[in-house]
Amino acid sequence: MSFETTRVTARYRQNLRSNLGGRLIGAVLFLCAFVTVVTTVGIVVILFIEGLSFFAEVSPIEFFTGTKWTPLFTSKGFGVLPLISGTVLIGLGAACVALPLGTLTAIYLSEYATPRIRSVMKPLVEVLSGIPTVVYGYFALTFISPFIKEYLYPEAGPYMAISAIVVVGIMIVPIVASISDDALRAVPRELREAAYGVGASKLEVNTRVVFPAALSGVIASYILAISRAIGETMAVTVAAGARPNLTANPFEAVQTMTAYIVSVSLGDTPHGTIEFKTIFAVGLTLFFMTLVMNIISSRITKRFREVYD
């Protein structure tokens, strides 16, 4: 009896030990996952601390309603509206390019393309989002801008919002196409067959049955794509110029929030000054704009996802 007990205890101890090792491994893996939470907290804390110390010196009312953004000049203006208007101009412009193209691509890929064409075309479209954005900047500056100056708008300077709009629009096409394609393909076959059964043509099935059924996924992809366009940095830095400009004319040079942040960090503004703190205030604004859009997008996906079973 006592022999049995010692054997059980020994095995129990051994199990306990290996269980302890297992728990340790679990804890280490948990820490790995927790790095992502720390990252988010770090971003929020850093933006808030430096942003708040900026807003201690500049009133938020001046920041969000002022129309003059000249923090690096002697007569300082801290109105962020010109940067926001530049960002919105490029974001909405890119949406005008990407949403129709992306939607048509998604419909083509999911409803018309044969599996063979699809297997070639889908990766090709996705290459568009794999190209470094600085390469798009180069293309915009050396190809699209001169083209527009030559044929469409000779008065334009070397920098213009429109050529940034074109390349940013193209680079977010895969986001729209890919997510919308998934949404369209998730629409069950029965819905299509029922529509065909009552005599609908392919066009009618696609536009009146499949597309509305996939609408929530499609809209989520739109919002996500616009959010990506707003956060885009290098192409707009290279092609759109560096002049904060409250305008809706896409042929003028504008500066976006992201491009402003880059221009400060490329310069030699000393750390700790109010000029330098502007990047945190602008960064905070940018972070919240994209965060809100991303959350709306994922809410739509979650809440309005049609569950077909």
Partner: protein
């Protein structure tokens, strides 16, 4: 009663022809819509071809041995890409070393260890939100956290005179690691999910512990998928310009980094520097740099595809 052979009355003939024209119209509309979709999806590809062609035209004037061995210069004919290539190699090496274990560890935790509770779903939601944060915001994070060793409040982490890691290779690498972690984690999760449960059950059935099951059965099966995701994440990091500009990668570097604490430049930064000069010769240098960058990306993607094909056959899928 009319039989089918009876000629149609004038009224029904009218309805028929209306139906016919209507049908022709519907058919035509359908063809037009099909063409519209086809054209729409070709626009992006067409632009891609134009872009590559534009770069091909400009990108080979300065392509020579010197381009790979020289440092940048004010004279375009002797300017080179060496410092940028070495900088990118250093940064990417460290990014690979740090993001692989953390990313795979996090994915294993979420797929194999975590209980489905609020904390787990918080981590999961946070990962997908983090993937949508603009890269320049990661640059701001890296600038404070790694370059200056502070969160902006309270004391900075300093060793002697040096606070944080400074504008160095390691600062850039850690910033990019945080940037690509969401991608690595999600890709690894997908690969781990694809391992069939029967394999785990068999392993548990013969008495293996959770870690034994994970380390000797789940991970090896998931490895091709994980490696593919890892390579794709790294190729995203190579092209990232904004975050490493933020942490202060130099734009004119006439030396190569010898250690993780050295200042550095990287391929996209050097390209940006050449783009922002007005002379056409420097634009051609930029195009040459872009050719090198794109060939690197293409090679990495090809390797990812190869891994998927080669190892995928013996794997679970």
């Amino acid at each position: 009663m009319r039989s089918a052979n009876d000629p149609p009355t004038s009224q029904s003939r009218l309805v028929l022809s209306e139906y016919q024209t209507n049908n022709v119209l519907r058919h035509l509309k359908g063809r037009l819509f099909y063409l519209l979709c086809l054209l729409g999806s070709l626009v992006g590809i067409l632009l891609l071809v134009t872009l590559l062609n534009d770069i091909r035209q400009d990108g080979f004037h300065y392509m020579s041995k010197h381009f790979f061995t020289n440092f940048p210069s004010r004279k375009p004919e002797i300017a080179g890409f060496h410092g940028a290539i070495m900088g990118t190699l250093w940064v990417m090496g460290i990014v690979a070393i740090t993001s692989f274990p953390i990313g795979v560890g996090a994915a294993l935790y979420l797929e194999e260890y975590a209980i489905k509770n609020k904390l787990t779903s918080l981590i999961q939601t946070n990962i997908s939100n983090l993937a949508g944060v603009p890269s320049i915001v990661f640059g701001i994070l890296g600038l404070q956290l790694f370059v200056r060793g502070t969160i902006g409040y309270g004391p900075a982490i300093c060793i002697g005179e040096q606070c944080g890691f400074g504008r160095s290779v390691i600062s850039g690498a850690l910033t990019l690691t945080l940037l690509i972690l969401p991608i690595v984690i999600v890709a690894s999760q997908e690969a781990i999910k694809a391992v069939p449960p029967s394999i785990r059950e068999a392993s548990y059935g013969v008495g293996a512990t959770r870690w034994q099951t994970v380390s000797s059965h789940v991970l090896p099966q998931a490895m091709p998928g994980i490696m593919t995701g890892m390579i794709l994440a790294l190729s995203r990091a190579i092209g990232e310009t904004a975050p490493i500009i933020m942490i202060g990668a130099l734009t004119f570097v006439a030396f190569r980094p010898e250690g993780p604490l050295d200042p550095f430049t990287a391929m996209p930064i050097q390209v940006l520097n050449w783009i922002s000069r007005p002379q056409a010769a420097f634009h051609e240098l930029a195009a040459t740099g872009i050719v090198v960058l794109l060939i690197t990306l293409l090679t990495m993607n090809a390797i990812a595809v190869l891994i998927r094909i080669r190892l995928g056959q013996s794997g679970a899928r």
